[in-house]
């Protein structure tokens, strides 16, 4: 049933420096998480994506990147779904 979604999440976790992924619907309900991603963060991530999309309503939803010293969270929105990718900062960037 959700094997396809599991495959997408697992394949995303295989990419370099990725430490967590999350996918949620437009209500903030987490459909699936991997790694460090907390399923309770789905609401927050969806809210951030919705607010950012209001800046330019006529354009596609933007990609938001929350950066801290060691990690970054990339939030993207497609249709009614919002995804977040947690990444560790690569050493070359420091």
């Amino acid at each position: 049933m959700e094997s396809k979604l599991d495959n997408v999440l697992d394949s995303m976790m295989q990419t370099e420096n990725t430490i967590g992924v999350l996918i949620a619907d437009n209500q903030g309900l987490s459909y699936g998480t991997r790694g460090v991603a907390n399923s309770q963060a789905g609401g927050l991530i969806t809210a951030i994506a919705d607010q950012a999309a209001k800046i330019h309503p006529n354009l596609d939803a933007p990609v938001i990147i929350l950066e801290t010293e060691n990690t970054s969270v990339t939030i993207s929105k497609y249709g009614f779904h919002t995804g977040a990718i947690y990444k560790r900062k690569s050493q070359s960037k420091k």
């Binding site: 049933m1 959700e2 396809k4 979604l5 495959n7 997408v8 999440l9 995303m12 990419t15 992924v21 996918i23 619907d25 459909y31 699936g32 990609v63 990147i65 950066e67 801290t68 010293e69 990339t74 939030i75 993207s76 929105k77 497609y78 249709g79 009614f80 779904h81 919002t82 995804g83 990718i85 960037k93 420091k94």
Partner: protein, 183 residues
């Protein structure tokens, strides 16, 4: 005959004089007394002054007989006005004169009081007040822009995940109709 002529001449002269005097009643002639004329000028000047002090001219003309009184009141008013307008600097200086030592003492006292008051005033801390105040080194973070590759990966991931969610179907594993056996 000559006598008659002289009489007529005298009459005509007299009448002409009368007419001239009538015509020049308002004006100063060579016969009008000089002192009286000076008086009249003073009167008109006085009236102008008083009219400048916001007094009705009609009131003055009606109270013409009591001119001396008006002059006194006008004079006293002028004296009062000048008195109020004058600032006697010399008198002020004598009252508020400060000795040099006293002046220095006061400077010290006021400086002390100011310092005390400054210590008492709670000054808000002037810390860094910006969006990135949680970031230790925002310059390093801001130096690296996200690459298009990263953005494409993120977009693609969400797109695939959304499609996967939309493709979700409930697999029918058991029979929909379950027979219950009541005993």
């Amino acid at each position: 005959m000559e006598f008659l002529h002289s009489v007529i001449e005298a009459f005509s002269n007299c009448c002409l004089n009368c007419r001239e005097e009538e015509a020049r009643a308002g004006e100063a002639t060579e016969r009008s007394p000089l002192l009286q004329q000076q008086d009249q000028r003073n009167q008109t000047l006085q009236i102008r002054r008083i009219s400048e002090n916001n007094i009705d001219e009609n009131e003055i003309s009606t109270s013409f007989p009591t001119r001396e009184k008006d002059e006194q009141t006008a004079l006293s008013r002028i004296v009062q006005e000048t008195n109020s307008n004058i600032i006697d600097v010399s008198a002020l200086d004598t009252h508020h004169m400060l000795e040099q030592s006293e002046y220095n003492d006061r400077v010290k006292l006021y400086n002390q009081r100011l310092a005390q008051q400054w210590n008492n005033i709670p000054v808000p801390e002037l810390g860094y007040n910006g969006l990135l105040k949680d970031m230790p080194n925002p310059e390093i973070l801001l130096n690296f822009n996200p690459t298009t590759e990263e953005l494409a990966i993120a977009k693609n991931f969400v797109k695939e995940a959304a499609q996967a969610i939309n493709d979700m179907k409930i697999d029918n594993q058991d029979d929909l109709v379950v027979p219950f056996h009541f005993k």
